[in-house]
Amino acid sequence: MEAREYEFEAIGTHWHIEFELESGDPDALMRDVHNRIAQFDKNYSRFREDSLVTRMSKVAGRHLMPDDADPMLSLYFDLYERTGGALTPLIGQVLIDAGYDAEYSLVPKEISMPPKLGEVLSYESPYLTLHTPTMLDFGAAGKGYLVDIVAKILLEAGAVSSTVDAGGDISVYSANNVPVRIGLEHPLDTTQAIGVAEIVNQSICGSAGNRRAWDRFHHIIDPRSLKSPRDILAVWVVADTALLADALTTCLYMVPVGTLSPHYSFEYLLLRPDFSVEKSANFPAEIFS
């Protein structure tokens, strides 16, 4: 049994991957993982000149989407409906105009509400047709989705356990049901945690406005108000996939839990600015109080 740990930078964040492999070459496996991450980045990063997403922001018409696009696009379109447009892949232009562009200029220009989804695109897998060149942003769920993809590669290579952590979006697999203890980072003091979650065969994603913040914004801008929500300090979601957990952390900044809970299975914790928490009954964590 080979147990290995790897740390590296990719898709603009810090990764930590560990796994136990019964047989096979762990370094060769990690080469596959790196290639897969690079492929994902080349498709979906709005920060690269050579990406599919950048090309789509310049060229209208019918685009053939990559093989892995459908689960992510389907979730986005579903959540777009459920959240009344709060979660939208059209947030890219809003972020760019606010300053969070490929050059990180961080100087806001004039921002305006994005159009309705149906006005700019139509989708019938595997083709996405843009009626006008459009910048699509998959930041709300892309990282979580990639965590799932990497975890699946490890599983299919025979890993009996794995922890895939991309900037705090974490997927845990354990054939023996051994949980991993994951600290919930204090958003105002990153040397502290406000609790510890125990995660096994599920994913946890966290979101807070402390790191990517500039001018009057942080990394989430509500397209309906064109403001970054200030009534939430941090959110964590636990779900069966990191794709869903990641997308829901963004949604919970903008819509109430009740909007989402009838349609998706998840546990959540919201940390308010007064340091009170609201959480689901079975959120798997010990909270410090």
């Binding site: 922890t163 705090g168 502290q192 979650a197 994603c205 979101s207 340091f275 009954a281 410090f288």
Partner: protein, 170 residues
């Protein structure tokens, strides 16, 4: 820094649950009470009387030592109780466990095993709305494998922020 008190818990329960809340049983759960547990369990199982939270008569003292004298009138310990309430579908219950230290609730948890499926939704709403204030603990003091929070940012973002800070000062 938990701001809740026993009366706050009781009043919140009362507000949310339709009908009377009757505490069916209250059993202390301190570690050393082997004698106490035996004593409680010999009571008639089908009709448990309401007993105030207290150490068993037999007497061994509490193993947890408290630095200051507890003058709150409530003994330190962990207590659990089942609250019964009426719904249109019939009787329902919800479990509450509280830990007291010097009369202050230092931990509280609610457990569900609803008799009626519809109750779960209402109990979920209650449990999720119950306000709890958190504090931070140093990462060094907790044993963890990973940390989840806001994404660590790319160097590009951090560099841009640093440049802006310089510009803002000049």
């Amino acid at each position: 820094m938990n701001k809740t008190t026993i009366s706050a818990i009781a009043s919140v329960l009362g507000l949310l649950l339709v009908g009377a809340v009757v505490f069916v049983s209250a059993k202390p759960k301190t570690a050393n009470t082997s004698t106490a547990v035996a004593a409680t369990e010999t009571t008639d199982a089908t009709q448990e009387e309401v007993t105030p939270p207290t150490q068993a008569a037999a007497t061994t003292s509490n193993t947890t030592t408290t630095a200051a004298a507890n003058t709150s009138g409530y003994k330190d310990g962990t207590y659990s109780a089942e609250g019964m309430y009426q719904t249109p579908q019939g009787g329902e219950h919800i479990g509450v466990t509280l830990t007291l230290a010097s009369g202050v609730v230092t931990a509280a948890s609610l457990t569900q095993s609803p008799l009626i499926p519809e109750s779960r939704r209402y109990q979920d709403l209650f449990i999720s709305a119950y306000k709890q204030y958190v504090i931070g603990k140093s990462l060094d003091s907790i044993s963890l494998s990973r940390v989840s929070g806001s994404s660590l940012t790319s160097g590009g973002f951090n560099e841009a922020v640093a440049k802006i800070k310089v510009q803002a000062k000049s």
